[in-house]
Amino acid sequence: MHEVRIRKRVVIVEEIFHEGGPAAATPQRRAAALTVIHNPFAGKFVPEIAGFMEDLNPLGLEMAKSLVTALGGDLKVVEGYGKGAIVGPAGELEHGALWHVPGGYAMREVLGGAKAIVPSTKKVGGPGTRLDVPVTHINASYVRSHFDSMEIGISDAPRAEEIVVALVMTTGPRVHARVGGLKASEIKSEDGLR
């Protein structure tokens, strides 16, 4: 058991009306919840770290709920999701991997039965490091209009002994999506892929 020590929380919401083409009837929104936590394993190699995943579950749930709130409170608007982590320089990439399970669990729990894998990325970096969090459709990873990403970062984090954990939710396709492929309306929704 390790205490999850929070230094800072950040919520970012983007509302996209157009990108040079016709304005969308409903603007696409992307929201990111970021939390700066202390890395309990910083500065040394710790063989057994997996227990920290369970410690992170409550934080994941809180962050996923805060995203739904930031998007207006209605679960039904959420169509895409993604997650990521930035580990401060005194940590290792594997510490970022600890976020996979609690981050994914939290999003599925809050969204109630989303089927697709939550795409993710992670890196080691200093304060102000930017992370492009990948985003795909919550029920079918192959929906081409929902292949998206959101760049996030915090100017003063992560410090050496910190980790920034991130969750992202989006409300729709890219604003001018038009490269074909599987459509959201064609999802069979059995395997989380198509």
């Binding site: 929070i6 929380r9 950040v10 919520v11 970012i12 919401v13 983007e14 996209i16 009306f17 157009h18």
Partner: protein, 194 residues
């Protein structure tokens, strides 16, 4: 709206812990930023009235968005600031036209008050350029605990013919202020300075 808005982004930051000391209650700050088309890009235009009117619109829009993101009533806001980044085909004076003549009045209306100057910064830059929004107490510019700044950036803005415009508000000063000076309980609130 006069402004052609491509995108609106809001940012909320909560600081829970600084240097191992718990910050109670957490300090919170929020910023709302709009990405708009620059009507005067790529040419010298003498009369910048259109931009000053856009500034007035954005003052209301962004102040409302930022206060809503902060989650408190307008009059409870303690400090504020504003900033703009002009894309490479515009001039610094375009930022000045948006920020200085008319943006402040609607911001103050949303906050109920605001005797102090709204501190500001501006720059020209490319996509993803960071904007450091200066912050000062809204009723007394000399309140030392509230001299602060908030960094924001939008990775895909400003494009060459765009302007990024931001308003920031807080419910507090710095997390652990301890360098003396005028404190907020000493504010007379008459001249906007003390």
């Amino acid at each position: 709206m006069k402004a052609k808005v491509r995108k609106i982004v809001t940012f909320v930051e909560e600081t829970h812990n600084e240097m191992g000391k718990v910050v109670t209650p957490p300090t919170k700050r929020a910023a709302a930023a709009a990405v708009i088309e620059n009507p005067f890009a790529e040419r010298y235009v003498d009369d910048l009235t259109e931009l000053t009117e856009i500034g007035e619109e954005l003052g209301e829009l962004l102040a409302k968005r930022a206060v809503a993101a902060l989650g408190i009533a307008g009059p409870s806001v303690e400090s504020y600031g504003k900033a703009a980044a002009v894309g490479e085909n515009g001039e610094l004076e375009h930022a000045a036209a948006i920020l200085h003549p008319k943006l402040g009045a609607p911001v103050r209306k949303v906050l109920g008050k605001g005797a102090a100057l709204i501190p500001s910064s501006k720059k020209r830059g490319g996509l993803g350029v960071p904007l450091d929004i200066p912050l000062g107490h809204k009723d007394a510019a000399f309140v030392r605990s509230h001299f602060d700044g908030m960094e924001i950036r939008v990775n895909d803005a400003p494009r060459a013919n765009e302007i990024l415009v931001a308003v920031a508000v807080t419910d507090s000063g710095r997390p652990l202020p301890r360098i003396g000076g005028l404190t907020k309980d000493q504010i007379k609130g008459e001249d906007g300075l003390r």
